[in-house]
Protein backbone atom coordinates (compact mmCIF):
# COMPACT_ATOMS: atom_id res chain seq x y z
CA UNK A 1 0.00 0.00 0.00
CA UNK A 2 2.92 2.26 0.75
CA UNK A 3 4.56 1.09 -2.46
CA UNK A 4 8.29 1.34 -2.09
CA UNK A 5 8.05 4.38 0.05
CA UNK A 6 7.74 4.45 3.82
CA UNK A 7 5.72 7.06 5.72
CA UNK A 8 7.36 10.37 6.52
CA UNK A 9 8.28 11.45 10.04
CA UNK A 10 9.17 15.00 10.97
CA UNK A 11 12.43 15.14 12.90
CA UNK A 12 12.84 17.53 15.81
CA UNK A 13 16.29 18.09 17.24
CA UNK A 14 17.29 19.80 20.45
CA UNK A 15 20.92 20.85 20.46
CA UNK A 16 21.45 21.54 24.15
CA UNK A 17 19.38 21.22 27.34
CA UNK A 18 18.66 24.94 27.13
CA UNK A 19 17.92 25.38 23.44
CA UNK A 20 14.48 24.84 21.93
CA UNK A 21 13.68 21.66 20.00
CA UNK A 22 13.67 22.58 16.30
CA UNK A 23 12.18 21.04 13.17
CA UNK A 24 15.24 20.04 11.16
CA UNK A 25 13.81 17.84 8.41
CA UNK A 26 12.22 14.46 8.00
CA UNK A 27 12.93 10.79 7.37
CA UNK A 28 11.03 7.95 5.77
CA UNK A 29 10.66 5.06 8.17
CA UNK A 30 8.25 2.25 8.94
CA UNK A 31 7.61 2.96 12.59
CA UNK A 32 8.53 5.58 15.20
CA UNK A 33 11.37 3.52 16.67
CA UNK A 34 12.94 3.05 13.25
CA UNK A 35 12.36 6.72 12.47
CA UNK A 36 14.18 7.77 15.63
CA UNK A 37 17.22 5.62 14.84
CA UNK A 38 17.34 6.93 11.28
CA UNK A 39 16.92 10.49 12.49
CA UNK A 40 20.06 10.04 14.56
CA UNK A 41 21.97 8.61 11.61
CA UNK A 42 20.82 11.38 9.27
CA UNK A 43 20.77 14.48 11.48
CA UNK A 44 23.43 13.85 14.11
CA UNK A 45 26.35 12.97 11.90
CA UNK A 46 27.93 16.05 13.38
CA UNK A 47 27.61 17.57 16.83
CA UNK A 48 25.64 18.45 18.62
CA UNK A 49 22.41 17.08 19.99
CA UNK A 50 20.85 16.63 23.36
CA UNK A 51 17.54 15.12 22.34
CA UNK A 52 15.78 13.94 19.23
CA UNK A 53 12.06 13.52 18.56
CA UNK A 54 9.98 12.19 15.69
CA UNK A 55 6.28 12.45 14.88
CA UNK A 56 4.31 11.36 11.81
CA UNK A 57 4.33 14.18 9.25
CA UNK A 58 0.63 13.69 8.54
CA UNK A 59 -0.22 14.48 12.17
CA UNK A 60 1.01 18.07 11.92
CA UNK A 61 -1.56 20.85 11.64
CA UNK A 62 -0.16 23.85 9.80
CA UNK A 63 -1.07 27.52 9.58
CA UNK A 64 0.78 29.50 6.92
CA UNK A 65 1.81 33.13 7.03
CA UNK A 66 -1.15 34.10 4.92
CA UNK A 67 -3.37 31.75 6.89
CA UNK A 68 -2.50 33.57 10.10
CA UNK A 69 -4.12 36.69 8.73
CA UNK A 70 -7.04 34.69 8.55
CA UNK A 71 -9.88 33.19 9.34
CA UNK A 72 -8.20 29.84 9.90
CA UNK A 73 -10.21 28.08 12.56
CA UNK A 74 -13.78 29.21 12.53
CA UNK A 75 -15.25 25.99 13.79
CA UNK A 76 -15.02 25.18 17.44
CA UNK A 77 -12.76 22.23 18.12
CA UNK A 78 -14.38 19.67 20.38
CA UNK A 79 -11.81 16.88 20.62
CA UNK A 80 -10.71 15.50 23.95
CA UNK A 81 -8.43 17.94 25.71
CA UNK A 82 -4.82 16.90 25.26
CA UNK A 83 -1.32 18.35 25.05
CA UNK A 84 -0.05 19.70 21.75
CA UNK A 85 3.47 20.69 20.81
CA UNK A 86 3.35 23.98 18.95
CA UNK A 87 6.18 25.13 16.68
CA UNK A 88 6.70 28.55 15.12
CA UNK A 89 8.77 29.72 12.22
CA UNK A 90 10.18 32.86 13.77
CA UNK A 91 11.23 34.95 10.78
CA UNK A 92 12.31 34.90 7.15
CA UNK A 93 15.98 34.99 8.02
CA UNK A 94 18.17 32.41 6.36
CA UNK A 95 18.28 29.32 8.49
CA UNK A 96 18.70 25.56 8.36
CA UNK A 97 15.78 24.90 10.70
CA UNK A 98 12.09 25.42 10.13
CA UNK A 99 10.11 25.86 13.34
CA UNK A 100 11.14 26.21 16.99
CA UNK A 101 9.09 24.61 19.73
CA UNK A 102 7.28 27.47 21.44
CA UNK A 103 5.53 25.34 24.02
CA UNK A 104 3.11 22.62 25.06
CA UNK A 105 -0.49 23.65 25.16
CA UNK A 106 -3.56 21.81 26.42
CA UNK A 107 -6.34 22.15 23.90
CA UNK A 108 -9.29 20.41 22.32
CA UNK A 109 -7.71 20.57 18.87
CA UNK A 110 -4.56 21.76 17.08
CA UNK A 111 -6.01 25.08 15.93
CA UNK A 112 -6.98 25.94 19.50
CA UNK A 113 -3.47 24.98 20.61
CA UNK A 114 -1.98 27.38 18.08
CA UNK A 115 -4.40 30.12 19.08
CA UNK A 116 -3.24 29.64 22.64
CA UNK A 117 0.40 29.71 21.52
CA UNK A 118 -0.16 32.98 19.68
CA UNK A 119 -0.83 34.66 23.00
CA UNK A 120 2.74 33.83 24.05
CA UNK A 121 4.85 33.62 20.92
CA UNK A 122 5.41 35.38 17.64
CA UNK A 123 6.05 33.78 14.33
CA UNK A 124 5.28 33.86 10.64
CA UNK A 125 3.86 30.32 10.50
CA UNK A 126 2.80 27.68 13.02
CA UNK A 127 2.43 23.91 13.47
CA UNK A 128 0.78 21.80 16.12
CA UNK A 129 1.10 18.08 16.75
CA UNK A 130 -0.46 16.01 19.53
CA UNK A 131 2.12 15.13 22.15
CA UNK A 132 0.96 11.51 22.29
CA UNK A 133 2.34 10.99 18.75
CA UNK A 134 5.77 12.40 19.57
CA UNK A 135 8.43 9.79 20.27
CA UNK A 136 11.82 10.88 21.54
CA UNK A 137 15.07 9.86 23.11
CA UNK A 138 15.16 9.69 26.87
CA UNK A 139 17.02 12.58 28.48
CA UNK A 140 19.36 10.17 30.25
CA UNK A 141 23.12 10.49 30.36
CA UNK A 142 23.50 6.96 29.00
CA UNK A 143 21.37 7.73 25.95
CA UNK A 144 23.03 11.05 25.22
CA UNK A 145 26.47 9.45 25.44
CA UNK A 146 25.57 6.59 23.17
CA UNK A 147 23.46 8.44 20.60
CA UNK A 148 24.97 11.90 20.39
CA UNK A 149 28.35 12.23 22.08
CA UNK A 150 30.34 10.08 19.61
CA UNK A 151 29.77 12.63 16.84
CA UNK A 152 32.14 14.94 18.71
CA UNK A 153 35.05 12.57 18.15
CA UNK A 154 34.56 12.57 14.38
CA UNK A 155 36.54 15.74 13.91
CA UNK A 156 37.46 14.87 10.31
CA UNK A 157 33.89 15.74 9.32
CA UNK A 158 34.37 19.32 10.37
CA UNK A 159 35.86 21.89 8.08
CA UNK A 160 37.81 23.36 10.99
CA UNK A 161 39.82 20.11 11.10
CA UNK A 162 41.52 21.12 7.86
CA UNK A 163 42.39 24.64 8.87
CA UNK A 164 43.46 26.97 6.14
CA UNK A 165 45.05 24.64 3.63
CA UNK A 166 47.91 26.05 1.61
CA UNK A 167 50.49 24.38 -0.59
CA UNK A 168 53.22 25.45 1.79
CA UNK A 169 51.69 23.84 4.86
CA UNK A 170 51.13 20.56 3.12
CA UNK A 171 54.73 20.54 1.99
CA UNK A 172 55.82 20.79 5.60
CA UNK A 173 53.51 18.00 6.66
CA UNK A 174 55.09 14.71 7.71
Amino acid sequence: MWGTEWPRYEVIKQDTPKSPPQMVGSVHATDPEHALLLARHVFVRRPSAYALFVAPAEAFFHVTQEGLKGPWSEGLEEGPEEAYWVFAKRSHRRSMVYGDLVGRFLAKGPASAIREALLHAQGVAFWAVPERLVVGTEPKEEVIESWFAPAKDKTYRLQSYYGLVTAKEVEDAP
Binding site: W6, V42, R45, H62, E66, R157, Y162
Partner: protein, 323 residues
Amino acid sequence: MVKLRIGYPEDPDYPERLAEFEARIARGEKIEPGDWMPAEYRRQLIRMISQHAHSEWVGMLPEGAWITRAPSLRRKLILLAKVQDEAGHGQYLYHAAETLGVTREEMVEALLSGRAKYSNIFNYPTLTWADVGIIGWLVDGMAIKNQTMLAQCSYGPYSRAMVRICAEETFHHKQGKEAVLLYARGSRKQRQMVQDALNRWWWPTLMMAGPHDTDSPHTPLLLRWGIKTKTNDQIRQEFLNEHVPELLEAGLTPPDPELRYDEKTGNWVHGPIPWDEFWKVINGEGPMNRHRLLARERAHEEGRWVREAMEAHAKRRLAQAAD
Protein backbone atom coordinates in the same frame (compact mmCIF):
# COMPACT_ATOMS: atom_id res chain seq x y z
CA MET B 1 -0.38 17.61 6.05
CA VAL B 2 0.17 20.86 4.25
CA LYS B 3 -2.23 21.66 1.46
CA LEU B 4 -0.55 23.25 -1.54
CA ARG B 5 -2.05 26.36 -3.11
CA ILE B 6 -1.10 26.60 -6.73
CA GLY B 7 -2.09 29.38 -9.12
CA TYR B 8 -2.56 29.04 -12.88
CA PRO B 9 -2.48 31.87 -15.41
CA GLU B 10 -6.12 31.19 -16.33
CA ASP B 11 -7.28 31.76 -12.72
CA PRO B 12 -9.23 35.05 -12.49
CA ASP B 13 -7.17 36.29 -9.53
CA TYR B 14 -3.83 35.20 -11.01
CA PRO B 15 -2.40 38.64 -11.89
CA GLU B 16 -3.22 40.00 -8.47
CA ARG B 17 -1.86 36.94 -6.68
CA LEU B 18 1.26 36.91 -8.80
CA ALA B 19 1.94 40.53 -7.94
CA GLU B 20 1.64 39.75 -4.22
CA PHE B 21 3.87 36.73 -4.65
CA GLU B 22 6.55 38.69 -6.44
CA ALA B 23 6.32 41.47 -3.87
CA ARG B 24 6.93 38.92 -1.13
CA ILE B 25 10.04 37.67 -2.92
CA ALA B 26 11.23 41.23 -3.44
CA ARG B 27 10.88 41.82 0.32
CA GLY B 28 13.15 38.81 0.93
CA GLU B 29 10.40 36.64 2.37
CA LYS B 30 10.62 32.90 1.95
CA ILE B 31 7.84 31.07 0.19
CA GLU B 32 6.78 28.08 2.26
CA PRO B 33 4.70 24.97 1.50
CA GLY B 34 1.09 26.00 1.76
CA ASP B 35 1.75 29.53 0.53
CA TRP B 36 0.27 30.51 -2.81
CA MET B 37 2.68 29.96 -5.70
CA PRO B 38 2.47 29.99 -9.49
CA ALA B 39 2.31 26.52 -11.05
CA GLU B 40 5.41 27.37 -13.05
CA TYR B 41 7.35 28.24 -9.88
CA ARG B 42 6.45 24.85 -8.45
CA ARG B 43 7.33 23.07 -11.69
CA GLN B 44 10.73 24.72 -11.96
CA LEU B 45 11.50 23.96 -8.33
CA ILE B 46 10.55 20.30 -8.64
CA ARG B 47 12.74 20.07 -11.72
CA MET B 48 15.71 21.72 -10.05
CA ILE B 49 15.46 20.19 -6.59
CA SER B 50 14.89 16.66 -7.82
CA GLN B 51 17.77 16.97 -10.30
CA HIS B 52 19.89 18.20 -7.49
CA ALA B 53 18.81 15.33 -5.22
CA HIS B 54 19.50 12.78 -7.96
CA SER B 55 22.93 14.33 -8.47
CA GLU B 56 23.79 13.74 -4.84
CA TRP B 57 22.48 10.19 -4.91
CA VAL B 58 24.16 9.24 -8.20
CA GLY B 59 27.19 11.27 -7.15
CA MET B 60 27.88 8.78 -4.38
CA LEU B 61 28.91 6.20 -6.97
CA PRO B 62 32.10 7.51 -8.62
CA GLU B 63 33.75 8.35 -5.29
CA GLY B 64 32.09 5.54 -3.38
CA ALA B 65 34.00 3.07 -5.53
CA TRP B 66 37.21 4.23 -3.84
CA ILE B 67 36.15 3.84 -0.20
CA THR B 68 37.34 0.25 -0.24
CA ARG B 69 40.71 1.32 -1.71
CA ALA B 70 41.53 4.50 0.21
CA PRO B 71 45.23 4.32 1.13
CA SER B 72 45.16 5.31 4.81
CA LEU B 73 42.81 5.04 7.77
CA ARG B 74 42.39 8.78 7.82
CA ARG B 75 41.55 9.06 4.11
CA LYS B 76 39.15 6.16 4.41
CA LEU B 77 37.28 7.79 7.28
CA ILE B 78 37.17 11.09 5.42
CA LEU B 79 35.87 9.52 2.23
CA LEU B 80 33.26 7.48 4.08
CA ALA B 81 32.04 10.63 5.78
CA LYS B 82 32.01 12.53 2.53
CA VAL B 83 30.09 10.00 0.48
CA GLN B 84 27.74 9.62 3.43
CA ASP B 85 27.17 13.37 3.40
CA GLU B 86 26.18 13.07 -0.26
CA ALA B 87 23.51 10.57 0.74
CA GLY B 88 22.49 12.98 3.49
CA HIS B 89 22.31 15.87 1.06
CA GLY B 90 20.24 13.79 -1.32
CA GLN B 91 18.00 12.98 1.62
CA TYR B 92 17.51 16.65 2.56
CA LEU B 93 16.80 17.55 -1.06
CA TYR B 94 14.30 14.79 -1.74
CA HIS B 95 12.42 16.00 1.31
CA ALA B 96 12.55 19.60 0.11
CA ALA B 97 11.03 18.45 -3.19
CA GLU B 98 8.42 16.38 -1.36
CA THR B 99 7.04 19.56 0.18
CA LEU B 100 5.88 20.47 -3.34
CA GLY B 101 3.60 17.45 -3.48
CA VAL B 102 5.79 15.00 -5.35
CA THR B 103 6.83 11.72 -3.72
CA ARG B 104 10.36 10.37 -3.50
CA GLU B 105 9.07 7.29 -5.24
CA GLU B 106 7.90 9.34 -8.22
CA MET B 107 11.23 11.13 -8.39
CA VAL B 108 13.21 7.90 -8.20
CA GLU B 109 11.02 6.43 -10.88
CA ALA B 110 11.70 9.44 -13.11
CA LEU B 111 15.43 8.97 -12.55
CA LEU B 112 15.47 5.24 -13.21
CA SER B 113 13.37 5.58 -16.34
CA GLY B 114 15.81 8.17 -17.69
CA ARG B 115 13.29 11.03 -17.69
CA ALA B 116 15.00 13.01 -14.94
CA LYS B 117 18.46 14.48 -15.28
CA TYR B 118 21.31 14.66 -12.83
CA SER B 119 24.60 16.48 -12.94
CA ASN B 120 26.61 15.49 -15.98
CA ILE B 121 29.83 15.33 -14.04
CA PHE B 122 28.92 11.97 -12.54
CA ASN B 123 28.84 10.33 -15.94
CA TYR B 124 32.62 10.26 -16.02
CA PRO B 125 34.62 7.43 -14.46
CA THR B 126 37.02 7.74 -11.51
CA LEU B 127 40.18 6.10 -12.81
CA THR B 128 42.64 6.61 -9.99
CA TRP B 129 42.75 7.54 -6.33
CA ALA B 130 43.72 11.11 -7.26
CA ASP B 131 40.29 11.57 -8.84
CA VAL B 132 38.85 11.57 -5.34
CA GLY B 133 41.01 14.55 -4.40
CA ILE B 134 40.26 16.44 -7.60
CA ILE B 135 36.53 15.82 -7.25
CA GLY B 136 36.62 17.16 -3.70
CA TRP B 137 38.54 20.27 -4.56
CA LEU B 138 37.24 21.18 -8.01
CA VAL B 139 33.91 19.46 -8.55
CA ASP B 140 32.77 20.28 -5.03
CA GLY B 141 34.37 23.68 -5.37
CA MET B 142 32.06 24.38 -8.29
CA ALA B 143 29.12 22.78 -6.52
CA ILE B 144 29.62 25.01 -3.49
CA LYS B 145 29.42 28.14 -5.64
CA ASN B 146 26.05 26.99 -6.84
CA GLN B 147 24.89 25.84 -3.42
CA THR B 148 25.89 29.07 -1.70
CA MET B 149 23.72 30.89 -4.20
CA LEU B 150 20.83 28.48 -3.71
CA ALA B 151 20.96 28.96 0.06
CA GLN B 152 19.48 32.40 -0.77
CA CYS B 153 16.68 30.79 -2.74
CA SER B 154 13.16 32.14 -2.27
CA TYR B 155 11.68 28.71 -1.55
CA GLY B 156 12.07 28.00 2.18
CA PRO B 157 12.60 24.23 2.13
CA TYR B 158 15.19 24.43 -0.67
CA SER B 159 16.99 27.28 1.03
CA ARG B 160 17.08 25.45 4.38
CA ALA B 161 18.41 22.27 2.79
CA MET B 162 21.08 24.34 1.08
CA VAL B 163 22.12 26.16 4.24
CA ARG B 164 22.59 22.78 5.91
CA ILE B 165 24.39 21.37 2.88
CA CYS B 166 26.75 24.35 2.58
CA ALA B 167 27.69 24.04 6.24
CA GLU B 168 28.68 20.42 5.63
CA GLU B 169 30.10 20.71 2.15
CA THR B 170 33.01 22.99 2.98
CA PHE B 171 34.70 19.97 4.52
CA HIS B 172 34.45 18.15 1.18
CA HIS B 173 36.23 20.97 -0.57
CA LYS B 174 38.97 21.24 2.02
CA GLN B 175 39.77 17.56 2.27
CA GLY B 176 40.07 17.40 -1.52
CA LYS B 177 42.31 20.42 -1.66
CA GLU B 178 44.49 19.03 1.10
CA ALA B 179 44.94 15.73 -0.73
CA VAL B 180 45.65 17.35 -4.10
CA LEU B 181 48.23 19.74 -2.67
CA LEU B 182 49.93 16.86 -0.90
CA TYR B 183 50.09 14.69 -4.01
CA ALA B 184 51.20 17.61 -6.18
CA ARG B 185 54.34 17.74 -4.03
CA GLY B 186 54.55 14.02 -3.43
CA SER B 187 56.30 11.15 -5.15
CA ARG B 188 56.73 11.00 -8.90
CA LYS B 189 53.77 8.68 -9.31
CA GLN B 190 51.59 10.80 -7.05
CA ARG B 191 52.43 13.94 -9.02
CA GLN B 192 51.65 12.26 -12.32
CA MET B 193 48.45 10.80 -10.98
CA VAL B 194 47.09 14.11 -9.75
CA GLN B 195 47.96 16.03 -12.93
CA ASP B 196 46.29 13.30 -14.96
CA ALA B 197 43.18 13.57 -12.82
CA LEU B 198 43.13 17.34 -13.31
CA ASN B 199 43.41 16.88 -17.07
CA ARG B 200 40.40 14.62 -17.16
CA TRP B 201 38.15 16.54 -14.75
CA TRP B 202 38.89 20.12 -15.80
CA TRP B 203 36.45 20.56 -18.68
CA PRO B 204 33.63 18.51 -17.17
CA THR B 205 33.97 20.68 -14.04
CA LEU B 206 33.68 23.92 -16.01
CA MET B 207 30.63 22.50 -17.78
CA MET B 208 28.98 21.76 -14.42
CA ALA B 209 27.93 25.38 -14.08
CA GLY B 210 25.66 24.79 -17.06
CA PRO B 211 25.46 26.29 -20.55
CA HIS B 212 26.44 29.89 -21.21
CA ASP B 213 23.80 32.42 -20.20
CA THR B 214 22.93 32.99 -23.83
CA ASP B 215 21.97 29.30 -24.12
CA SER B 216 20.22 28.93 -20.79
CA PRO B 217 16.48 29.28 -21.37
CA HIS B 218 15.26 29.03 -17.75
CA THR B 219 17.59 31.59 -16.23
CA PRO B 220 15.62 34.86 -16.52
CA LEU B 221 12.51 33.45 -14.88
CA LEU B 222 14.53 31.72 -12.16
CA LEU B 223 16.27 34.98 -11.37
CA ARG B 224 13.04 36.92 -11.28
CA TRP B 225 11.49 34.51 -8.78
CA GLY B 226 14.56 34.37 -6.62
CA ILE B 227 15.16 30.69 -7.24
CA LYS B 228 18.58 31.55 -8.58
CA THR B 229 20.39 34.76 -7.78
CA LYS B 230 23.32 34.37 -10.17
CA THR B 231 23.74 33.22 -13.75
CA ASN B 232 25.72 30.18 -14.92
CA ASP B 233 28.52 32.31 -16.31
CA GLN B 234 28.82 34.28 -13.08
CA ILE B 235 29.17 31.06 -11.10
CA ARG B 236 31.77 29.71 -13.54
CA GLN B 237 33.75 32.94 -13.30
CA GLU B 238 33.79 32.89 -9.50
CA PHE B 239 35.05 29.33 -9.59
CA LEU B 240 37.87 30.14 -12.00
CA ASN B 241 39.01 33.20 -10.13
CA GLU B 242 39.28 31.24 -6.91
CA HIS B 243 40.80 28.01 -8.17
CA VAL B 244 43.12 28.83 -11.06
CA PRO B 245 45.71 30.75 -9.00
CA GLU B 246 45.73 28.01 -6.38
CA LEU B 247 46.17 25.25 -8.93
CA LEU B 248 49.05 27.10 -10.54
CA GLU B 249 50.66 27.75 -7.18
CA ALA B 250 50.47 24.03 -6.46
CA GLY B 251 52.45 23.38 -9.65
CA LEU B 252 49.49 21.94 -11.54
CA THR B 253 48.46 22.95 -15.05
CA PRO B 254 44.84 23.15 -16.17
CA PRO B 255 44.61 21.60 -19.63
CA ASP B 256 43.58 24.82 -21.38
CA PRO B 257 46.29 26.47 -23.49
CA GLU B 258 44.17 29.59 -23.86
CA LEU B 259 43.63 30.11 -20.15
CA ARG B 260 44.77 33.64 -19.25
CA TYR B 261 44.39 36.36 -16.70
CA ASP B 262 42.67 39.49 -17.90
CA GLU B 263 44.20 42.50 -16.15
CA LYS B 264 41.35 44.81 -17.07
CA THR B 265 38.53 42.77 -15.59
CA GLY B 266 40.57 40.89 -13.00
CA ASN B 267 39.08 37.66 -14.32
CA TRP B 268 40.60 34.41 -15.45
CA VAL B 269 39.43 33.72 -18.99
CA HIS B 270 39.08 30.19 -20.30
CA GLY B 271 39.33 28.86 -23.86
CA PRO B 272 36.34 27.37 -25.70
CA ILE B 273 34.41 24.77 -23.71
CA PRO B 274 33.68 21.52 -25.59
CA TRP B 275 29.92 21.92 -25.52
CA ASP B 276 29.31 19.17 -28.09
CA GLU B 277 30.53 16.71 -25.53
CA PHE B 278 28.35 18.29 -22.86
CA TRP B 279 25.18 17.82 -24.89
CA LYS B 280 26.12 14.27 -25.80
CA VAL B 281 26.71 13.32 -22.19
CA ILE B 282 23.54 15.01 -21.02
CA ASN B 283 21.59 13.08 -23.61
CA GLY B 284 22.86 9.75 -22.37
CA GLU B 285 25.99 9.29 -24.46
CA GLY B 286 28.58 9.78 -21.72
CA PRO B 287 31.10 7.16 -20.65
CA MET B 288 29.28 6.08 -17.49
CA ASN B 289 25.61 7.03 -17.98
CA ARG B 290 24.39 3.46 -18.34
CA HIS B 291 26.49 2.23 -15.44
CA ARG B 292 25.26 4.89 -13.06
CA LEU B 293 21.61 4.23 -13.78
CA LEU B 294 22.08 0.48 -13.67
CA ALA B 295 23.73 0.74 -10.26
CA ARG B 296 20.83 2.82 -8.95
CA GLU B 297 18.32 0.46 -10.47
CA ARG B 298 20.02 -2.60 -9.03
CA ALA B 299 20.13 -1.17 -5.52
CA HIS B 300 16.49 -0.19 -5.85
CA GLU B 301 15.41 -3.62 -7.10
CA GLU B 302 17.56 -5.58 -4.66
CA GLY B 303 16.22 -3.46 -1.84
CA ARG B 304 12.60 -4.12 -2.70
CA TRP B 305 12.18 -7.20 -0.52
CA VAL B 306 13.77 -5.32 2.37
CA ARG B 307 11.33 -2.44 2.08
CA GLU B 308 8.44 -4.88 1.80
CA ALA B 309 9.59 -6.73 4.92
CA MET B 310 9.76 -3.53 6.95
CA GLU B 311 6.34 -2.52 5.75
CA ALA B 312 4.81 -5.90 6.58
CA HIS B 313 6.31 -5.77 10.05
CA ALA B 314 5.08 -2.26 10.72
CA LYS B 315 1.58 -3.07 9.55
CA ARG B 316 1.40 -6.15 11.71
CA ARG B 317 2.39 -4.04 14.70
CA LEU B 318 -0.22 -1.44 13.87
CA ALA B 319 -2.86 -4.16 13.56
CA GLN B 320 -1.79 -5.66 16.89
CA ALA B 321 -1.93 -2.26 18.54
CA ALA B 322 -5.47 -1.78 17.23
CA ASP B 323 -6.69 -5.10 18.68
